[in-house]
């Protein structure tokens, strides 16, 4: 637990340093406001419910992107794992996918689908789905042949074998894909909102910036940071619990 303590001290120390530098004016207020002021502003905003519509919109869109990425990703991953020829053909795509600036497609999506939530969800989905596919493939690759044979001894059909044996075995890896899907969906949706949108947390940050409204801007940035970090920590804890029963005692 020394590690936990050290880490907490490090973070608290960094925040405290920032606070001091801001209060002393070493960092001017029109650049960065003190963390305490950020927190205050955030509290005010949440209490007043001023941005609750934006927050709801962002969370909904992120949720849709994650759900779509999981369903499509797991399905495609399972399909490709059972079809080696197709998988080999798409292999270069897997290797190159995340190298391509996905945001470059955003203007294209906006032109095709117009303003509205779909382009943002699409970017989030596109970023997330490949991580799910790759990790699902990885997990399914690791199913021991004896379990595949066992499925056949139990006379399970293809779909049944996938749902009842292969995917449950691969669940830890699918979960890794899920964690990435969550992170990428946030990055995609909020990023897209920032570039062009009419609502959402990303949009409000951009709007506040353009209107020189530092307190609101930093409050929302803080909000996103806290949200993503706490989601990640919960997923991490959940994962540990799920894996505990599969670890050698």
């Amino acid at each position: 637990m020394k590690v936990l303590l050290a880490r907490t001290l490090l973070i608290v120390g960094a925040v405290a340093l920032l606070e001091i530098l801001c209060r002393l004016g070493v960092i001017p207020n029109f650049t960065v406001i003190p963390p305490s002021a950020m927190a205050q502003s955030l509290w005010k905003i949440l209490a007043s419910g001023k941005f609750s519509e934006d927050i709801a919109a962002t969370l909904t869109n992120v949720g849709i992107a994650i759900a779509a990425a999981m369903v499509v990703g797991v399905a495609l991953g399972t399909l490709l794992q059972s079809w080696p020829a197709a998988r080999r053909t798409f292999d270069p795509l897997f290797a190159t996918y995340y190298a391509v600036p996905m945001y470059a497609f955003y203007p294209l999506l906006l032109v095709i689908f117009g303003l509205g939530d779909f382009p943002q969800i699409a970017i989030g989905f596109l970023l997330a789905v490949m991580a799910v596919i790759i990790n699902t493939l990885n997990g399914l690759d690791r199913v021991p042949p004896v379990l595949l044979k066992t499925a056949r001894v139990h006379r399970l059909g293809l779909v049944s074998a996938a749902l009842r044996v292969r995917l449950p075995y691969a669940a830890p890896y699918v979960f890794t894909g899920f964690k990435l899907a969550v992170a990428y969906s946030f990055i995609g949706v909020v990023g897209a909102e920032f570039i062009t949108s009419s609502r959402g947390i990303g949009y409000e940050i951009s709007f506040a910036y353009n209107n020189f409204d530092n307190p609101v801007m930093y409050a929302m940035i803080l909000f996103i940071l806290l949200l993503v970090i706490s989601v990640n920590m919960s997923l991490h804890a959940w994962e540990k619990r799920l894996l505990a029963r599969r670890r050698r005692a």
């Binding site: 066992t150 056949r152 001894v153 449950p168 075995y169 670890r247």
Partner: protein, 258 residues
């Protein structure tokens, strides 16, 4: 006759085709306990795969209960593998209940059958545990219970006690005999341990080095009510040495010295 193989061979396809098994002729009488011994790599596991319908025969016919077997596992066949095949994401109870639930049995029926199997295999304290928390031997018992509970008429076991120590093996052998008598199933056991084969089986098939064929099939003549203490019987020693005489040359050949 519950299962018959006629002229069965298996050749693994590929650039350098491997003739792994056969030709094999075998007829299993219903309710008998048949053991297969042979040098390593002779194709014992391939024989099991082919009999179970897990791998297609390259030539010959296999039939189970009068119907041909080809590439699909017939209803009524249970298999216990060498490697641990327990599902790590399910508890012992859920593992054993797997086949029954899939067949759509009512939960009360499931509870009755699974409860019985758990008692029979001595797993009562571990019903809610996960396989990762159990030893290798216990996990193997879970796999056997999972097979048992579906009441197969033919049980195929591929070196199920391979990873266990000698004493545990002897005890598990007794349990296997108990299981065999209670269920009345036909059992085919693959093992590399000669004494295990001789002690447990009604007939022992001795396989040659690859490609595996039956050199001889020896009837032990043991009574149905037997257990591991049969090793004291004087015919035990004679039969085991007879099998070894057949096998010794084959084992040397399998190792490349023949």
């Amino acid at each position: 006759m519950i299962c018959s193989l006629r002229g069965v061979t298996r050749v693994y396809p590929g650039e350098s085709a491997v003739h792994a098994l056969g030709p094999i002729d075998l007829e299993l009488a219903p309710g008998e306990f048949f053991a297969v011994v042979g040098p390593s790599g002779c194709g014992k596991s391939t024989l099991l795969d082919v009999m179970a319908g897990l791998a297609p025969a390259s030539a010959g016919q296999i039939s189970f209960e009068g119907k041909p077997v080809n590439g699909e596992v017939p209803d009524g066949v249970g298999v216990v593998f060498q490697e641990d095949a327990s599902f790590p994401w399910l508890t012992v109870y859920d593992n054993i209940a797997f086949g029954l639930r899939r067949a759509g049995a009512a939960e009360a029926e499931v509870a009755a059958q699974v409860g019985y199997a758990i008692e029979f295999m001595g797993l009562k304290e571990f019903a809610r545990a996960y396989p990762a928390q159990l030893s290798g031997g216990m996990r193997q018992r879970v796999c056997i219970a999972r097979t048992l509970v579906l009441k197969p008429r033919l049980i195929l076991l591929d070196e199920p006690f391979g990873a266990l120590d000698q004493q545990t093996r002897l005890l598990m052998g007794d349990e296997l005999l108990r299981l065999w008598r209670e269920t009345g199933a036909t059992v085919l056991l693959i093992t590399h341990a000669l004494d295990e084969a001789t002690m447990l089986a009604d007939r022992v098939g001795v396989m040659s080095a690859r490609p595996g064929r039956f050199l001889d099939i020896i009837a032990t003549g043991w009574p149905r009510e037997r257990d591991s203490t049969i090793v004291a019987n004087e015919s035990f020693g004679r039969m085991t040495s007879r099998i070894w005489k057949l096998l010794r040359g084959e084992s040397l050949r399998a190792m490349g010295h023949g």
